[in-house]
Amino acid sequence: MAESRTSSWRALAVQTLLVLALAALAYVAATNAGQKLARQGIVAGFGFLARPAGFDIGQSLIPYAAATATYLDAFLVGLLNTLLVSALAIVISTGLGFAIGIARRSGNLLARSVAAAYVEGFRNLPLLLQLLVWYVAVRVALPASGDPAAWGGAFLSQRGLFLPRPDFFGWAALVPLASAAGLLALWLLVRASRRAVALGKKPVSVPWPGALLVLGLPALAWIGLALAGHPVPVAWPARGPYDIEGGLALRPEFAALLIGLSTYSAAFIAEIVRSGLDSVARGQREAAAALSLSRGQALRLVVLPQAMRVIVPPLTSQYLSTTKNSSLAVLIGYPDLVHVFMGTVLNQTNQAVEVVAITMGVYLTLSLATALLMNRTNARVAGGRP
């Protein structure tokens, strides 16, 4: 009894000391920073976001003009660019990674060895070095900027891929709304199908009606708007005196980053998939073969669904790493969040504390959101267990 009382006193004392030490540290840091900022004449706070930015950004998903844009616009452009490259890289690396991971356990010796060589090669080289190489390779492979390749309104050169850009504002906002409705309908369809299976009924067919909903609804909205006299405005790229102007530009930096990020992450995903496949007992495969399922059917219907339980948790953290790794964009000049905000905006405004806090806050939020989402997926593939 006496001992537990002294230990509880000790616990209280140590924890109080820790809190005080942390508070003191924060206080000293804050006062130092406050003094230095005051000396530099920097006003703390987020007011700078409304000030005009006055710099141009090479690639933007939303209309952005250097003359009128604010720092907040620059932030949004950077954030969207980060999300764009991360989302695409996640999709591509998942496909590639699953293919390579499955190839590592294929019956074909050559496929096995090539997959192993891929994984060892890409995993054991710094991503930064790979991006430098891809950047050079992409620029060498593209046609010279004076002589762009053109297909039906789109241009491709060393300056990038230029696509027509529809602007979804005003009436045209109906199109993205229709997309959202299509996705919602798809989700309801999947739920209905799953419920039917749970009740022992025939599952509702998902792939074709789903594709029709997701692609058809926005297309319908697009055509409907055109017929109703409010066509969606489209900005077409055109050859200007120096460069191709207008439209949506996807820069070579974007291509290099996307390829580098996807191929690098795919090596890690392949390892995750391989260890997932290894976790399924050999008897499952043999039983499937005994039921005269082909190797492909056995993989798709028996082995992979069980392997997913092992695959999903590390896959989550791999997706997060991919998103965080997209910040290496700053190396080759792709205007992602870090490049635009922690680079240019920070240099122009010197609002170090605010800029660092916002940027890190974005990544922390993304991490947290992905973790929550994936925990739910994980709970489902793990068969109801949390």
Binding site: A11, V14, Q15, L18, V19, L22, V28, A29, N32, A33, Q35, K36, L37, G107, N108, L109, L110, A111, V114, E120, G121, R123, N124, L125, P126, L127, L128, L129, L132, V133, V136, K324, N325, S327, L328, V330, L331, V338, M342, L346, A352, V353, V356, T359, M360, Y363, L364, S367, L368
Partner: protein, 386 residues
Amino acid sequence: MTVENGSVETEGYVRKTLIPPAPPPRRLGGPLAWARTNLFASWTDGVVTLLILAALAWLVPEALRFLVLDAVWTGTSGEACRPEVVGHPVGACWAFIGEKINYLAYGSYPAAERWRPNLFFALLAFGGAWMLWLDAPKRAWGAAYLFLAFPVLAYALLAGMPALGLAAVATGLWGGLLVTVVVSMVGIVASLPLGILLALGRRSDWPVVRYACIGFIEFWRGVPLITVLFMANVMLPLFLPGDVTVDRLVRPLIGIALFASAYMAEVVRGGLQAIPEGQMRAALALGLTKTQALRAVVLPQALKIVVPGIVNTLIGLFKDTTLVSIVGIADFIRVLEAARADPRWSAPAVPATAYAFAALFYFAVCFGMARYAGFIERRLAAGEAR
């Protein structure tokens, strides 16, 4: 077969005659049978095999030609590596690497003092070998040397200590492999003890300690390293009192140390969780205090099983050190980029040579460490199986 009211009714089909014997398996041994099972098990397998063979038939001679056959081994300037001067297609320009090798190894470290980095590498190799060789004598002394004595020695040796007759060398002159190794070493030496403390803190019974550790770990794991490096660059000077300045090399070092320790903490936590709770209870029952039990019973076992995880984290750390080049530290990649920008060595083959050399270097180190982790893992598994 149908089941009705508990009785089994067999379908009326019974074979009346013997089936003919199946033909013997075509071949069970020999190269043909081997090729059939491993390369041409099915039509698709055959197609995949032929495609891969075709790709290899193009890739391997091409790589061989670039790296060895058409490579230029001697020369004093880029002229030696120009196809129009040499008179045949040129592969890698190894003469370039040969001339720049000292710059790549030491950066601008004064030529007369280069024995100091060399001695540093030797001391590090000695300590590293002591720790990595599992049966080495007195490994506790090895750890004390590597984690306590070596950092002090290394600092005195590299930065200089006028009292001992070692002239001071500004960190701005350090570069190349030296900086890459220094950054990695600081990351390892700081992150291992800090990571162990954080992992223990995360499992502490004291809520304040636990939440402080969770917050610390999840914060660093949630943000990209590049934002940490930017933060260290711009915010560290802000937080320190008035005229205290931090060396430009030390800022990223602090960032990397904190970042790596969060990842190390999660690896160590995995090991701690793998130790059955009975070990702690048994140690307490023997009259050990909690601290003694942790130090003498739980931690040694936990650290032993996480050695592969630690080595994998170190591989990641080593690859991540390349990111310091983005914040202006002259690490291996940055001096390589500087070297290839040398106008005297402007030749089309030089960039590819530089990247090939960097790739071989990083691959050798990372693949070697990964092999070592695999070796330890197998050895531990064998120990468990006994």
